[in-house]
Symmetry: C3
């Protein structure tokens, strides 16, 4: 699709993002790129001021910027209060989302006679769907996906290659799971008998709400009893591990390599940054933010931001780090105090004699 | 299977877990659930006192509790010293373990003519078994599994979908590997030549002992020379990484996202909590416990519990954390000491003049 | 292949690694093993002095050692300045690298009619290659690999089982990707609208340079716009996560479970040890070394070595750790200072009255 700057401005206004054109309204835009990469026919944007100097060199045909940005060279600008939101809308408009291959119901997929597949399914060669699985409308299932028996899967679901869903798991509508992720494997459930570990049957499942998106190579344990839950609208990056029986609220955002142990309750709209880890059996309140690499060992109140290992409120963590850096100074001051005090005592003693 | 409470009590007694019925012996039980989820016909249990208040509201038909638990409402109880061990036994009795699909030797599996497959094998469509592989009796191999040449695999092994076993690896009896795990990939073996990295052939293998269970999306490097070993009875959770040439003892338990570098010797019955990391070429003694997120940089004596980054004995780590929290106080005290000492010196000077 | 010690010495000399034989020149060597494992007909080596005592017990037919090593038992030695480099060369000579199965172009692979596959391709059953993919000469592609449309793949590439390459990604020559790794999945790109997350189309790709080797179960996000880049000669271990739009230089070495967030610029010949994490939008200079488990929150200058969480230069990190261990002593000294100062003040007051 190709639009003039004028048409793009109208589109953005209609999407609730009014903007002002500063330059040639007739220039045509057919795609979006970064300031560094953009060329003829491409729209770029400046959101993070760190990249402002690239306005001097970009070859973009036009750039989305905030109203107050000053550019002292000829450059077509679209001024709007939130350039990032605007560029997102333009990307969806011009590029759309990924178009999947069309397989229909491939004759090279293994689909159980007892599975029920909704209309308009797009199921690739090399997919395996076991007995009594139910899948809603418009499913896109890539090669190498395995869906074990009695799973129930909603409408408009996309499963990328080599995703594995163990038996009896439930996926809501519009769930997307990226390649290689595993949903519903057994958790680490063993009873110790002497020094041996006796396996406890893991008879629960995993339930993913609507609009959940899971990154690549994640692992979500089934519950021992009951369900491991991932709330609607929650998004995971890659290599995330969720323990058995954990329940995660709606609209959370977990960055890569986050690990949450079993039986944790996570509220809604919680953000966990990369490589954060949460011990088992605690409660993380709504709207909590957990910093990168934080090791959370105690429950966290709603709205808090925690950081460090063990994780503490962010102000406390910053104070600890600041004081750590001053420790050599403190140590020297203690040494000076000792020296001065000893000298003073000696002086007083000397006078008294 | 459905049993009365009386029959369940007899079963538990016969399994070495005597218990006392407090309530209606004739109530029937057909499955197990958590206190929160349980309903009519279900047995639940109270092991962690944290959940005691749920005894007030559970709809379970009966609950396994310790002998001294007091419940002030009508509720059928089975009193036994270890309710968790008892519920595990009941789960195995009522539910059994996962029943696998029955494929026999699927005609859609690719099995080399030189592979030797034991009796009663259950090999799914889309499995690939290369030349000279040996597999024992009763194997269950799910779709998408790849077993490279000359692997030797014991009896009663279960490989979940998309597991990959590189050439010449050895799996003991009753090994279970969950979906997406990779056994025997090349480790990070390169010789530096200037700033380039020259690959060293990785000609060793991986050997998994009997009764090993590996979680989903783990990676176990083959040894450069010799074998990477995982001792019998050892259990891994998901996303665990083991480096080349590392040898891990029997009956260990590694939680999700643990990473052990190469050439490490880990003793028997070692527990590593989530996201722990172990540097290369060190020795971890028997019965060691390594805390969540610990960064272990030195060998650890048998029986020790270590924590922190760098990891230190747990008492020391706790002392460090406690003192960290007091640092602002200490800093203030140093400032007060300075002030008082300076004043004292001024006073003395003043008097001497 | 079998060679005498004399022939091996000639081979090493011709490879620029002259060595001196100390023992029987006619002994024959057909493979390489560790000191512990080696037996009749095997060459071993001593590089790390930690293992010197194994010279007393090894059953190797000959051992590569440094010129100054003293062995007081009969043992055939090859003395050379760099035994590790020498054993690497011998391993390549005797064992070569892994020989792959020969599939040719399997009739059980799904290859789009619009894909262009170079000569001498070796493509296994169960591979899926989508529309308009281009693959160079001598490709080896194992079962379960999925290559999405319009990917461009160079010569002499090896993709182990179940690797997934999303659409439009580019792989250079001699790239090797181990089992289960995913290249080009969508990154965590969402625009917040209230508490909901609106997906931003991820229209960039991933570009891997020549001679890149990626371990098992890694994940490399495609860029939102433009490319995520991995420079030529760079090597990753397993379970490494790279965020969207990150650019990594040539000849880097990343150990298992490293995580790099999005929009990071990493220079050339950078080493990241296991479980290190790098926040987004920073710059890591050339030849930087990042310690195991380091949490890097700020840009790092070329040539630096950083460690800790938050990461600081290694000297500073060591000083912090050392001082942490002395904190109990410092605390006691502060208490003593307080006591002595108070006593001194009381004494002075007493005398004044």
């Amino acid at each position: 699709m190709t639009l003039t700057l004028d048409e793009l401005a109208s589109f953005l206004a209609s999407a609730g993002m009014p903007c002002e054109i500063d330059g040639d309204k007739t220039v045509t835009i057919s795609s979006v790129a970064t300031l560094e990469d953009a060329g003829e026919g491409q729209l770029s944007f400046l959101s993070n001021p760190k990249y402002a100097k690239e306005l001097q060199t970009t070859a973009a045909s036009a750039v989305l910027v905030r109203p107050d940005v000053i550019v002292d060279r000829p450059l077509n600008l679209l001024r709007t209060p939130d350039p990032y939101a605007a560029v997102t809308a333009v990307m969806v408009k011009l590029h759309g989302y990924r178009r999947h291959p069309r397989w229909g119901l491939s004759s090279l997929a293994q689909i159980s006679a007892t599975a029920v597949i909704g209309e308009n399914a797009n199921i690739a060669p090399g997919v395996y769907i076991d007995d009594e699985v139910q899948i809603g409308k418009n499913a896109t299932i890539y090669p190498g996906v395995y869906i074990a028996r009695r799973c129930r899967i909603g409408d408009d679901v996309t499963l990328f290659p080599n995703v594995v869903i163990y038996d009896e798991c439930v996926l809501g509508n519009r769930v997307t799971i990226h390649a290689g992720s595993v949903i519903g494997e057994d958790g680490l459930g063993y009873a110790p008998v002497g020094e041996k570990w006796i396996k406890i049957p893991q008879i629960g499942n995993v339930v993913l709400g609507d609009d959940v998106e899971i990154g690549a190579n994640c692992t979500i344990d089934r519950a021992t009893l009951g369900s491991t839950l991932i709330g609607s609208g929650t998004k995971f990056s890659n290599l995330v591990a969720i323990g058995h029986g954990t329940k995660i609220g709606e609209d959370c955002m977990f960055v890569a390599q986050v690990g949450v142990a079993g039986s944790v309750h996570v509220g809604r709209h919680v953000t966990m940054a990369g490589q954060a880890g949460i011990v088992g059996h605690i409660v993380i309140g709504d709207n909590v933010t957990i910093g990168a690499k934080a090791g959370v060992t105690n429950s966290v109140d709603a709205g808090a931001t925690v950081l460090g290992q063990p994780a503490v409120p962010i102000q406390e963590c910053k104070r600890q780090v600041a004081i750590m850096q001053k420790l050599p100074d403190l140590k020297n001051e203690i040494r000076r105090l000792r020296r001065e005090l000893d000298r003073l005592k000696r002086d007083i003693d000397a006078k008294q004699q």
